[in-house]
Protein backbone atom coordinates (compact mmCIF):
# COMPACT_ATOMS: atom_id res chain seq x y z
CA UNK A 1 0.00 0.00 0.00
CA UNK A 2 1.19 3.50 -0.78
CA UNK A 3 -0.17 6.94 -1.45
CA UNK A 4 0.98 9.70 -3.75
CA UNK A 5 -0.22 12.20 -1.14
CA UNK A 6 3.13 12.12 0.70
CA UNK A 7 4.98 13.19 -2.43
CA UNK A 8 2.35 15.75 -3.33
CA UNK A 9 2.68 17.26 0.13
CA UNK A 10 6.49 17.35 -0.17
CA UNK A 11 6.19 19.04 -3.55
CA UNK A 12 3.74 21.52 -2.03
CA UNK A 13 6.20 22.41 0.72
CA UNK A 14 8.95 22.73 -1.89
CA UNK A 15 7.04 25.52 -3.67
CA UNK A 16 8.29 27.96 -1.02
CA UNK A 17 10.58 30.52 -2.67
CA UNK A 18 13.50 29.39 -0.52
CA UNK A 19 13.11 25.79 -1.77
CA UNK A 20 12.79 26.87 -5.41
CA UNK A 21 15.90 29.04 -5.36
CA UNK A 22 18.01 27.21 -2.75
CA UNK A 23 18.17 30.16 -0.35
CA UNK A 24 17.06 28.16 2.68
CA UNK A 25 19.20 27.34 5.73
CA UNK A 26 21.12 24.08 5.47
CA UNK A 27 18.96 22.20 7.95
CA UNK A 28 15.87 23.25 6.00
CA UNK A 29 17.49 22.03 2.77
CA UNK A 30 18.09 18.69 4.49
CA UNK A 31 14.43 18.56 5.55
CA UNK A 32 13.22 19.32 1.99
CA UNK A 33 15.43 16.51 0.69
CA UNK A 34 14.10 14.10 3.32
CA UNK A 35 10.45 14.94 2.53
CA UNK A 36 11.02 14.45 -1.21
CA UNK A 37 12.83 11.15 -0.63
CA UNK A 38 10.06 9.75 1.59
CA UNK A 39 7.45 10.87 -0.98
CA UNK A 40 9.36 9.36 -3.88
CA UNK A 41 9.67 6.01 -2.04
CA UNK A 42 5.88 5.90 -1.73
CA UNK A 43 5.50 6.70 -5.42
CA UNK A 44 7.87 3.86 -6.32
CA UNK A 45 5.39 1.45 -4.69
CA UNK A 46 2.56 3.04 -6.68
CA UNK A 47 4.47 2.73 -9.97
CA UNK A 48 5.39 -0.89 -9.15
CA UNK A 49 1.74 -1.70 -8.48
CA UNK A 50 0.70 -0.03 -11.74
CA UNK A 51 3.33 -1.89 -13.76
CA UNK A 52 2.43 -5.21 -12.12
CA UNK A 53 -1.18 -4.61 -13.00
CA UNK A 54 -0.42 -3.58 -16.58
CA UNK A 55 2.07 -6.38 -17.26
CA UNK A 56 -0.02 -9.04 -15.51
CA UNK A 57 2.86 -10.35 -13.40
CA UNK A 58 4.05 -9.38 -9.96
CA UNK A 59 7.74 -8.56 -9.91
CA UNK A 60 10.13 -6.93 -7.52
CA UNK A 61 10.69 -3.67 -9.32
CA UNK A 62 13.86 -1.75 -8.61
CA UNK A 63 14.37 1.99 -8.97
CA UNK A 64 17.97 3.03 -9.37
CA UNK A 65 18.18 6.67 -8.34
CA UNK A 66 21.93 6.97 -8.91
CA UNK A 67 22.07 6.05 -12.60
CA UNK A 68 23.57 9.48 -13.30
CA UNK A 69 26.70 8.34 -11.46
CA UNK A 70 26.57 4.78 -12.87
CA UNK A 71 25.39 3.10 -9.68
CA UNK A 72 22.74 0.37 -9.74
CA UNK A 73 23.23 -2.76 -7.61
CA UNK A 74 20.84 -4.81 -9.78
CA UNK A 75 22.37 -4.19 -13.21
CA UNK A 76 25.90 -4.35 -11.77
CA UNK A 77 25.42 -7.87 -10.45
CA UNK A 78 22.65 -9.61 -12.44
CA UNK A 79 23.41 -11.67 -15.53
CA UNK A 80 19.88 -11.07 -16.79
CA UNK A 81 17.36 -8.35 -15.98
CA UNK A 82 14.40 -6.46 -17.43
CA UNK A 83 14.26 -2.76 -18.17
CA UNK A 84 10.87 -1.08 -18.22
CA UNK A 85 10.92 2.38 -19.70
CA UNK A 86 7.86 4.53 -19.06
CA UNK A 87 7.21 7.49 -21.33
CA UNK A 88 4.91 10.14 -19.82
CA UNK A 89 4.91 12.22 -23.03
CA UNK A 90 1.99 12.14 -25.44
CA UNK A 91 4.19 11.11 -28.36
CA UNK A 92 6.46 8.20 -29.29
CA UNK A 93 10.11 8.87 -28.44
CA UNK A 94 13.54 7.32 -28.73
CA UNK A 95 15.55 7.45 -25.49
CA UNK A 96 19.16 6.52 -24.84
CA UNK A 97 19.52 4.08 -21.96
CA UNK A 98 22.80 3.83 -19.99
CA UNK A 99 23.06 1.17 -17.32
CA UNK A 100 26.07 0.35 -15.12
CA UNK A 101 27.28 -3.21 -15.74
CA UNK A 102 30.29 -5.41 -15.07
CA UNK A 103 30.14 -7.64 -18.15
CA UNK A 104 31.78 -7.03 -21.50
CA UNK A 105 29.01 -8.09 -23.90
CA UNK A 106 25.23 -8.21 -23.64
CA UNK A 107 22.18 -9.28 -25.62
CA UNK A 108 19.31 -6.82 -25.49
CA UNK A 109 15.89 -7.95 -26.66
CA UNK A 110 13.25 -5.35 -27.43
CA UNK A 111 9.47 -5.48 -26.89
CA UNK A 112 8.97 -7.53 -30.07
CA UNK A 113 11.76 -9.96 -29.06
CA UNK A 114 14.03 -8.50 -31.72
CA UNK A 115 17.68 -7.96 -30.90
CA UNK A 116 18.52 -4.32 -30.15
CA UNK A 117 21.97 -2.93 -31.09
CA UNK A 118 23.96 -2.15 -27.96
CA UNK A 119 27.45 -1.13 -26.89
CA UNK A 120 29.44 -1.51 -23.71
CA UNK A 121 31.59 1.53 -22.85
CA UNK A 122 33.93 1.96 -19.89
CA UNK A 123 32.80 3.99 -16.88
CA UNK A 124 34.86 7.19 -16.91
CA UNK A 125 37.34 8.06 -14.19
CA UNK A 126 35.26 11.22 -13.56
CA UNK A 127 32.31 9.05 -12.58
CA UNK A 128 34.42 6.66 -10.52
CA UNK A 129 35.77 9.65 -8.58
CA UNK A 130 32.29 11.10 -7.99
CA UNK A 131 30.59 7.89 -6.89
CA UNK A 132 33.50 6.96 -4.55
CA UNK A 133 32.60 3.56 -3.06
CA UNK A 134 28.89 3.63 -3.88
CA UNK A 135 29.11 1.32 -6.90
CA UNK A 136 31.52 -1.00 -8.65
CA UNK A 137 30.46 -1.05 -12.31
CA UNK A 138 33.38 -1.03 -14.71
CA UNK A 139 31.24 -0.35 -17.77
CA UNK A 140 27.98 1.06 -19.01
CA UNK A 141 25.58 -0.77 -21.29
CA UNK A 142 24.17 1.57 -23.88
CA UNK A 143 21.15 1.07 -26.14
CA UNK A 144 18.34 3.09 -27.69
CA UNK A 145 14.81 2.43 -26.46
CA UNK A 146 11.70 3.32 -28.42
CA UNK A 147 8.73 4.01 -26.17
CA UNK A 148 5.10 4.56 -27.18
CA UNK A 149 3.15 7.65 -26.10
CA UNK A 150 2.05 7.54 -22.45
CA UNK A 151 3.14 3.92 -22.25
CA UNK A 152 6.06 1.67 -21.57
CA UNK A 153 8.43 -0.68 -23.39
CA UNK A 154 10.17 -3.64 -21.83
CA UNK A 155 13.69 -4.67 -22.76
CA UNK A 156 15.38 -7.86 -21.58
CA UNK A 157 19.12 -7.74 -21.03
CA UNK A 158 21.26 -10.90 -20.82
CA UNK A 159 24.98 -11.03 -20.24
CA UNK A 160 26.80 -12.99 -22.91
CA UNK A 161 28.83 -15.90 -21.61
CA UNK A 162 32.58 -15.40 -21.83
CA UNK A 163 32.97 -18.66 -23.77
CA UNK A 164 30.43 -17.56 -26.36
CA UNK A 165 32.23 -14.27 -26.77
CA UNK A 166 35.59 -15.92 -27.30
CA UNK A 167 33.94 -18.25 -29.80
CA UNK A 168 32.42 -15.29 -31.64
CA UNK A 169 35.71 -13.40 -31.69
CA UNK A 170 37.53 -16.52 -32.91
CA UNK A 171 34.91 -17.10 -35.60
CA UNK A 172 35.28 -13.50 -36.72
CA UNK A 173 39.06 -13.86 -36.77
CA UNK A 174 38.85 -17.12 -38.77
CA UNK A 175 36.47 -15.42 -41.19
CA UNK A 176 38.85 -12.46 -41.64
CA UNK A 177 41.82 -14.84 -42.03
CA UNK A 178 39.98 -16.84 -44.71
CA UNK A 179 39.08 -13.64 -46.55
CA UNK A 180 42.74 -12.57 -46.48
CA UNK A 181 43.80 -15.96 -47.77
CA UNK A 182 41.27 -15.77 -50.59
CA UNK A 183 42.67 -12.36 -51.59
Amino acid sequence: KASSFVFREAMGVAQHHDAVTGTEKQHVADDYAKRLTVGWLQCQVLVSNALSSLSGSKQNFVFCNKLNISVCPLTESASTFSVQVYNPLPRRITWNIRLPVNGTAYNVLGPNDKSVPNQVVPVSNFTKMVRENKGYATSELLFQATIPAVGFSTYTVTKEAAGKMIHQRRSKWVQQYNQQMEK
Binding site: G22, T23, V47, Q59, N60, V62, S79, F81, P88, P122
Partner: protein, 284 residues
Protein backbone atom coordinates in the same frame (compact mmCIF):
# COMPACT_ATOMS: atom_id res chain seq x y z
CA UNK B 1 47.73 17.57 -31.03
CA UNK B 2 45.54 15.73 -33.56
CA UNK B 3 42.45 17.59 -34.77
CA UNK B 4 39.57 16.01 -32.87
CA UNK B 5 36.08 15.82 -34.36
CA UNK B 6 33.00 13.84 -33.44
CA UNK B 7 30.07 13.49 -35.79
CA UNK B 8 26.77 11.73 -36.41
CA UNK B 9 24.18 12.02 -39.20
CA UNK B 10 23.11 15.53 -38.15
CA UNK B 11 25.85 17.30 -36.20
CA UNK B 12 29.63 17.67 -36.24
CA UNK B 13 31.58 18.99 -33.27
CA UNK B 14 35.23 20.04 -33.49
CA UNK B 15 37.71 20.62 -30.69
CA UNK B 16 40.82 22.76 -30.59
CA UNK B 17 43.94 20.63 -31.05
CA UNK B 18 45.87 23.05 -28.81
CA UNK B 19 43.52 23.31 -25.84
CA UNK B 20 41.06 20.41 -26.14
CA UNK B 21 38.18 22.88 -25.77
CA UNK B 22 35.06 22.80 -27.92
CA UNK B 23 35.70 24.92 -30.99
CA UNK B 24 33.00 24.56 -33.63
CA UNK B 25 29.54 23.09 -34.15
CA UNK B 26 28.13 22.28 -37.56
CA UNK B 27 24.50 21.49 -38.37
CA UNK B 28 25.02 19.07 -41.25
CA UNK B 29 21.34 19.04 -42.29
CA UNK B 30 21.28 22.81 -42.86
CA UNK B 31 24.93 23.37 -43.73
CA UNK B 32 25.28 25.88 -40.86
CA UNK B 33 28.45 26.12 -38.81
CA UNK B 34 29.39 28.31 -35.88
CA UNK B 35 32.61 28.78 -33.95
CA UNK B 36 31.67 28.06 -30.35
CA UNK B 37 34.40 28.22 -27.71
CA UNK B 38 33.13 26.69 -24.49
CA UNK B 39 34.91 26.72 -21.16
CA UNK B 40 34.23 26.78 -17.44
CA UNK B 41 35.03 29.93 -15.45
CA UNK B 42 34.57 31.08 -11.88
CA UNK B 43 33.60 34.45 -10.49
CA UNK B 44 35.30 35.41 -7.27
CA UNK B 45 32.50 36.17 -4.80
CA UNK B 46 32.49 39.74 -3.49
CA UNK B 47 33.07 40.29 0.22
CA UNK B 48 32.04 43.93 -0.15
CA UNK B 49 34.00 46.91 -1.50
CA UNK B 50 34.17 50.69 -1.25
CA UNK B 51 31.03 51.09 -3.39
CA UNK B 52 28.89 48.73 -1.36
CA UNK B 53 29.29 46.46 1.63
CA UNK B 54 27.02 43.86 -0.01
CA UNK B 55 28.67 40.45 -0.10
CA UNK B 56 27.79 37.60 -2.43
CA UNK B 57 25.56 35.10 -0.66
CA UNK B 58 22.59 32.78 -0.99
CA UNK B 59 20.25 35.55 -2.22
CA UNK B 60 22.72 37.94 -3.79
CA UNK B 61 25.09 37.14 -6.66
CA UNK B 62 27.80 39.76 -6.64
CA UNK B 63 31.17 38.96 -8.20
CA UNK B 64 34.11 41.14 -7.16
CA UNK B 65 35.21 41.54 -10.77
CA UNK B 66 33.54 41.55 -14.18
CA UNK B 67 36.09 39.09 -15.50
CA UNK B 68 35.78 35.48 -14.38
CA UNK B 69 38.82 33.21 -14.09
CA UNK B 70 39.05 30.18 -16.40
CA UNK B 71 38.99 26.89 -14.48
CA UNK B 72 41.60 25.71 -16.98
CA UNK B 73 42.95 27.01 -20.26
CA UNK B 74 43.95 23.60 -21.60
CA UNK B 75 42.74 20.21 -20.65
CA UNK B 76 43.23 16.48 -20.90
CA UNK B 77 40.84 14.79 -23.31
CA UNK B 78 40.09 11.32 -24.54
CA UNK B 79 37.42 9.98 -26.79
CA UNK B 80 35.05 7.02 -26.94
CA UNK B 81 33.54 6.34 -30.35
CA UNK B 82 31.26 3.51 -31.44
CA UNK B 83 28.10 2.94 -33.51
CA UNK B 84 25.75 4.39 -30.88
CA UNK B 85 27.67 7.23 -29.30
CA UNK B 86 30.61 9.56 -29.88
CA UNK B 87 32.05 11.10 -26.71
CA UNK B 88 34.87 13.44 -25.82
CA UNK B 89 35.85 13.44 -22.14
CA UNK B 90 37.34 16.73 -20.97
CA UNK B 91 39.10 17.06 -17.65
CA UNK B 92 39.33 20.73 -16.63
CA UNK B 93 40.58 20.23 -13.07
CA UNK B 94 40.26 17.88 -10.12
CA UNK B 95 36.79 19.34 -9.47
CA UNK B 96 35.50 20.13 -12.97
CA UNK B 97 34.97 17.78 -15.92
CA UNK B 98 32.67 17.37 -18.88
CA UNK B 99 31.61 14.83 -21.49
CA UNK B 100 30.65 16.17 -24.92
CA UNK B 101 28.32 13.56 -26.37
CA UNK B 102 26.63 12.84 -29.68
CA UNK B 103 24.22 9.91 -29.78
CA UNK B 104 23.28 8.21 -33.01
CA UNK B 105 20.47 10.07 -34.76
CA UNK B 106 20.52 12.96 -32.29
CA UNK B 107 20.25 16.49 -33.66
CA UNK B 108 21.89 18.17 -30.66
CA UNK B 109 25.12 18.07 -28.68
CA UNK B 110 24.87 16.92 -25.08
CA UNK B 111 27.28 18.43 -22.56
CA UNK B 112 27.29 16.47 -19.31
CA UNK B 113 29.21 18.52 -16.74
CA UNK B 114 30.39 17.51 -13.30
CA UNK B 115 31.41 20.32 -10.96
CA UNK B 116 32.51 20.17 -7.33
CA UNK B 117 33.39 19.97 -4.58
CA UNK B 118 34.34 23.61 -5.14
CA UNK B 119 37.64 24.24 -3.38
CA UNK B 120 37.63 27.06 -0.84
CA UNK B 121 40.99 26.54 0.84
CA UNK B 122 42.06 29.92 -0.60
CA UNK B 123 39.14 31.52 1.31
CA UNK B 124 37.52 32.74 -1.90
CA UNK B 125 33.88 32.00 -2.52
CA UNK B 126 33.39 30.77 -6.08
CA UNK B 127 30.51 30.91 -8.53
CA UNK B 128 31.09 28.57 -11.46
CA UNK B 129 29.80 29.23 -14.97
CA UNK B 130 29.84 27.41 -18.29
CA UNK B 131 30.39 30.01 -21.01
CA UNK B 132 29.87 29.75 -24.77
CA UNK B 133 31.64 32.38 -26.87
CA UNK B 134 30.62 32.83 -30.50
CA UNK B 135 31.17 35.47 -33.19
CA UNK B 136 27.41 36.14 -33.40
CA UNK B 137 26.56 39.85 -33.51
CA UNK B 138 23.80 39.95 -30.92
CA UNK B 139 23.75 43.69 -30.06
CA UNK B 140 23.30 43.00 -26.35
CA UNK B 141 20.16 40.93 -26.91
CA UNK B 142 19.54 37.43 -25.62
CA UNK B 143 16.53 35.34 -24.73
CA UNK B 144 15.53 33.34 -21.66
CA UNK B 145 12.36 31.43 -20.90
CA UNK B 146 9.83 32.14 -18.21
CA UNK B 147 9.04 28.82 -16.53
CA UNK B 148 9.34 26.97 -19.84
CA UNK B 149 6.52 28.99 -21.35
CA UNK B 150 6.98 32.49 -22.75
CA UNK B 151 10.42 33.31 -24.14
CA UNK B 152 11.42 36.79 -23.02
CA UNK B 153 13.82 39.07 -24.81
CA UNK B 154 16.52 40.42 -22.50
CA UNK B 155 18.69 43.41 -23.37
CA UNK B 156 21.98 44.05 -21.62
CA UNK B 157 21.96 47.02 -19.20
CA UNK B 158 18.32 47.72 -19.96
CA UNK B 159 14.89 47.33 -18.38
CA UNK B 160 11.77 47.81 -20.50
CA UNK B 161 9.78 49.77 -17.88
CA UNK B 162 12.30 52.13 -16.28
CA UNK B 163 15.59 53.87 -16.98
CA UNK B 164 18.22 51.60 -15.55
CA UNK B 165 21.37 52.89 -13.97
CA UNK B 166 23.50 49.77 -14.03
CA UNK B 167 25.72 49.33 -10.99
CA UNK B 168 26.45 45.60 -11.37
CA UNK B 169 27.63 44.85 -14.94
CA UNK B 170 27.51 41.08 -14.40
CA UNK B 171 24.90 40.35 -11.72
CA UNK B 172 22.65 43.15 -13.02
CA UNK B 173 22.38 41.29 -16.31
CA UNK B 174 21.68 37.84 -14.89
CA UNK B 175 18.23 36.36 -15.45
CA UNK B 176 16.50 33.16 -14.39
CA UNK B 177 16.81 30.35 -16.91
CA UNK B 178 14.22 27.66 -16.20
CA UNK B 179 14.65 25.57 -19.31
CA UNK B 180 16.44 27.46 -22.10
CA UNK B 181 18.53 30.44 -23.15
CA UNK B 182 19.50 31.47 -26.66
CA UNK B 183 21.34 34.03 -28.73
CA UNK B 184 20.90 34.68 -32.44
CA UNK B 185 21.69 36.88 -35.38
CA UNK B 186 19.77 37.04 -38.67
CA UNK B 187 20.96 33.63 -39.84
CA UNK B 188 21.99 31.48 -36.89
CA UNK B 189 20.59 30.70 -33.45
CA UNK B 190 22.50 28.94 -30.68
CA UNK B 191 20.14 27.45 -28.09
CA UNK B 192 21.13 25.89 -24.76
CA UNK B 193 18.56 23.80 -22.89
CA UNK B 194 19.12 23.19 -19.20
CA UNK B 195 18.03 20.24 -17.06
CA UNK B 196 17.32 22.48 -14.03
CA UNK B 197 16.80 26.14 -13.24
CA UNK B 198 19.98 28.18 -13.42
CA UNK B 199 21.05 31.81 -13.69
CA UNK B 200 22.16 32.91 -17.13
CA UNK B 201 23.26 35.90 -19.14
CA UNK B 202 25.04 37.28 -22.16
CA UNK B 203 27.66 39.61 -20.73
CA UNK B 204 29.29 40.38 -24.09
CA UNK B 205 27.92 40.14 -27.62
CA UNK B 206 27.90 36.58 -28.97
CA UNK B 207 28.50 35.16 -25.52
CA UNK B 208 26.16 33.09 -23.39
CA UNK B 209 26.76 31.81 -19.86
CA UNK B 210 25.01 29.69 -17.28
CA UNK B 211 25.85 29.42 -13.60
CA UNK B 212 26.15 25.74 -12.72
CA UNK B 213 27.36 25.76 -9.12
CA UNK B 214 28.39 28.14 -6.32
CA UNK B 215 29.94 27.90 -2.88
CA UNK B 216 30.23 30.92 -0.64
CA UNK B 217 31.83 31.78 2.65
CA UNK B 218 29.77 34.75 3.84
CA UNK B 219 26.14 35.45 4.67
CA UNK B 220 24.65 38.16 2.45
CA UNK B 221 22.55 39.59 5.33
CA UNK B 222 19.26 39.09 3.50
CA UNK B 223 17.69 36.78 6.05
CA UNK B 224 19.10 33.30 5.62
CA UNK B 225 21.70 33.95 8.31
CA UNK B 226 24.34 31.53 7.06
CA UNK B 227 26.69 31.32 4.07
CA UNK B 228 25.89 29.09 1.08
CA UNK B 229 28.57 26.72 2.24
CA UNK B 230 27.02 23.49 0.94
CA UNK B 231 28.74 21.09 3.32
CA UNK B 232 27.73 17.85 1.58
CA UNK B 233 29.37 14.65 2.78
CA UNK B 234 32.19 15.22 5.28
CA UNK B 235 32.04 19.02 4.84
CA UNK B 236 33.80 18.70 1.49
CA UNK B 237 31.13 20.51 -0.54
CA UNK B 238 28.62 19.21 -3.05
CA UNK B 239 29.35 17.63 -6.40
CA UNK B 240 26.82 18.53 -9.07
CA UNK B 241 26.28 16.71 -12.34
CA UNK B 242 23.96 18.08 -15.00
CA UNK B 243 23.36 18.45 -18.70
CA UNK B 244 23.29 21.24 -21.21
CA UNK B 245 21.80 20.56 -24.61
CA UNK B 246 23.34 22.59 -27.37
CA UNK B 247 21.46 23.15 -30.61
CA UNK B 248 22.45 25.09 -33.70
CA UNK B 249 19.94 26.04 -36.38
CA UNK B 250 18.33 28.99 -38.10
CA UNK B 251 16.24 31.34 -35.94
CA UNK B 252 13.12 30.29 -37.92
CA UNK B 253 13.57 26.55 -37.29
CA UNK B 254 15.04 26.45 -33.78
CA UNK B 255 11.72 26.50 -31.89
CA UNK B 256 10.59 23.37 -33.78
CA UNK B 257 13.43 21.64 -31.97
CA UNK B 258 13.71 23.29 -28.58
CA UNK B 259 10.04 23.20 -27.62
CA UNK B 260 9.53 19.40 -27.84
CA UNK B 261 13.10 18.65 -26.71
CA UNK B 262 12.79 20.74 -23.55
CA UNK B 263 9.53 18.93 -22.80
CA UNK B 264 11.34 15.62 -23.22
CA UNK B 265 14.09 16.68 -20.81
CA UNK B 266 11.69 17.88 -18.12
CA UNK B 267 9.09 15.10 -18.45
CA UNK B 268 11.74 12.48 -19.05
CA UNK B 269 11.11 8.74 -19.34
CA UNK B 270 11.44 6.74 -16.13
CA UNK B 271 13.55 3.58 -16.00
CA UNK B 272 12.26 0.77 -13.79
CA UNK B 273 14.25 -2.45 -13.46
CA UNK B 274 13.43 -5.95 -12.37
CA UNK B 275 15.59 -8.98 -11.75
CA UNK B 276 15.26 -12.27 -13.51
CA UNK B 277 17.53 -14.83 -11.89
CA UNK B 278 19.87 -12.27 -10.33
CA UNK B 279 22.52 -12.90 -7.73
CA UNK B 280 22.86 -10.91 -4.49
CA UNK B 281 24.71 -7.60 -4.91
CA UNK B 282 27.20 -8.54 -2.19
CA UNK B 283 27.80 -12.02 -0.75
CA UNK B 284 27.39 -10.85 2.85
Amino acid sequence: SKHLTITNEHVEVSFSPDTGLLKMIRNLDKGISLNVAQNFFWYNASVGNSESSQVSGAYIFRPDSNKPFPVSSSLETYTVQNDLVQEVYQNFSSWCSQVVRLYKGQRFVELEWTVGPIPIEDNWGKEIISRFDTPLKTSGIFYTDSNGREILQRRRDYRPTWKLEQTEPVAGNYYPVNSRIFIKDNNVQLTVLTDRSQGGSSITDGSLELMVHRRLLHDDARGVGEPLFEPGDNNKGLIVRGKHILYLDTPESSADFHRPQAQQEFIAPQIILSATGSKPYREK
